[in-house]
Amino acid sequence: MVNGINLALQFLDSFAFIVLAAAGLAIIFGIMGVINLAHGEFILIGAYTATLAVTQLGLPLVVAMVAGGLVTGLFGILTERVIISGAWPNWVSQRTLGRDIIEPLYDRLADSMVATFGLSLILTQGTRIAYGNSIDGLSTPFGPIEYGAFSYSTYRIVLAGVSIGLLVATYYLFTRTDFGMRARATIQDKETAQAMGVNTERMYMLTFGIGSALAGLTGALFAPVVTMRPTLGDQFLVESFVAVVVGGPSVVLGTALSGGVLGAILAVFSNLYGTFIGRIALLVAALVALRFLPDGITGFIEQLRKRRQESE
């Protein structure tokens, strides 16, 4: 019954979905510690930008998608300055009231959740007011590939490739470059990073912007395959948080691994037992993983590695 190619393609599909859903969040939540409940709406911005860029401006799809990422990145920077760090309102209030009015949301997990929940309401409803309950969608490029009695959307396979590319780039950026090191240092200890000459404000801004841009790119990439509506971000939210947390402390690597593990479970169970069981299996697998790997997948791998070294 199980067709190997089907299974493989579905795995790629689930993997791409989970990884792309989580890509921006891996940075904003995983690295910066901001629970961004507006993550779905960042994806929405990317999706709408890309779609409107094609349908209204007539831009080529690829250009429109990049624009989706960029616009969302800029929006992210704006969000960071105005809400998350409160830098701009504070700049104003310093000059008028002589004191800060906003305490940055960094290190305030739950407060960041409330604030971004508010932001998500504003963005969803704002989109609805501006563009109505739906906008015309794009069609999926590339057409199908066929094998035997079956066929599959080529674009979905391309997405898997793109997701891997994005992960590698993000991983490289945050672990192998000076920028990444400074960004992580800033988040671990802002004061000391400043004393190390890091312009921490710029680091926060850029890191948040990059995370947002990734979310926007995800939206842009999925624009042809999801329905264009103000609440389209909802479908990404749960998977993204689960993937990042199940991934554990090495965020980017962890996201890739949890995308792999959870994607495989989703693909196998959906394939064998249908979509409902697939979804439940994904969630239950996440529960079990969190319970038995209390430090996530990468934490577990790290432990294994250590234990092996110990026994040598």
Binding site: D178, R182, R184, Q188, E191, Q194, M196, V198, N199
Partner: protein
């Protein structure tokens, strides 16, 4: 004058801590700050570093007014800082922590690495260990190494000997002097360890309740009992 504090007052939120601090450090000097717990020594260094904005007074560095300059700009202007309680970046590796120091300034020098590894061989051995898992003393060594690698013109040290084994404490005092002589690094440091103060300091300020109450010259510093009095009273 390399560093000059002119009646600096600083506060955490609304609680005033530093009151009218006057202090100066000449280029090439090694100046100590001492005082009992809680008198404001750390606050003083933080204010110099720019981590705390003075509510009053002025800070001048090489003649330019730094009072409202941000900490990272001061770092790039050549002020290095070793915070109290280590404050290494726990999730970065030892090597990355040192690299953080290196990237501060463009003129930092690769050969400084060798020198740092020579002072603290353990840092080379543990280059890829996460800094948060180092022992207390090792973290302190890392904090020192990380500051040195940026080749600062003015180095601020907050209790550098805390938690370090005696033999290395001696070594650190000597190394600091070497650095001071070889590279011309000016040093302003806080210490509780009498030996270190005596060994290193050219001059020393004594603090009480948020303000500088006395300045000790070389002769006083040489006198063990006199210092002990300042620290004990």
């Amino acid at each position: 004058m390399m560093l000059e504090l002119d009646s600096v007052t600083a506060a955490y939120d609304t609680t005033p801590i530093l009151r009218d601090v006057d202090l100066s450090v000449e280029e090439g000097e090694i100046v100590g700050v001492m005082g009992k717990n809680g008198v404001g020594k750390t606050t003083l260094l933080k204010t110099v570093m720019g981590l705390l904005e003075p509510s009053n007074g002025a800070i001048r560095y090489n003649g330019t007014d730094l009072t409202t300059t941000s900490a990272d700009e001061r770092a790039r202007a050549g002020i290095g800082y070793i915070p109290q309680g280590r404050d290494v970046f726990p999730k970065l590796t030892v090597e990355q922590n040192i690299k953080m120091g290196e990237t501060i300034r463009s003129d930092s020098d690769e050969t400084l690495y060798d020198q740092i590894y020579e002072y603290f061989p353990v840092l080379e051995e543990r280059a890829s260990q996460e800094a948060g898992t180092l022992s207390g003393g090792q973290q302190q060594m890392l904090a020192i190494g990380r500051a040195l690698v940026s080749n600062p013109d003015l180095l601020l040290l907050d209790e550098p000997s805390e938690g370090i084994q005696p033999s290395i404490v001696d070594q650190i005092s000597q190394d600091m002097q070497t650095i001071n002589e070889d590279l011309g690094t000016t040093i302003l440091f806080v210490e509780q360890n009498l030996g270190v103060i005596r060994e290193m300091a050219d001059r020393c300020y004594a603090m009480e309740r948020g303000t500088v109450v006395d300045e000790l010259g070389p002769s006083t510093i040489a006198d063990e009992d006199a210092i002990a009095e300042y620290l004990a009273v």
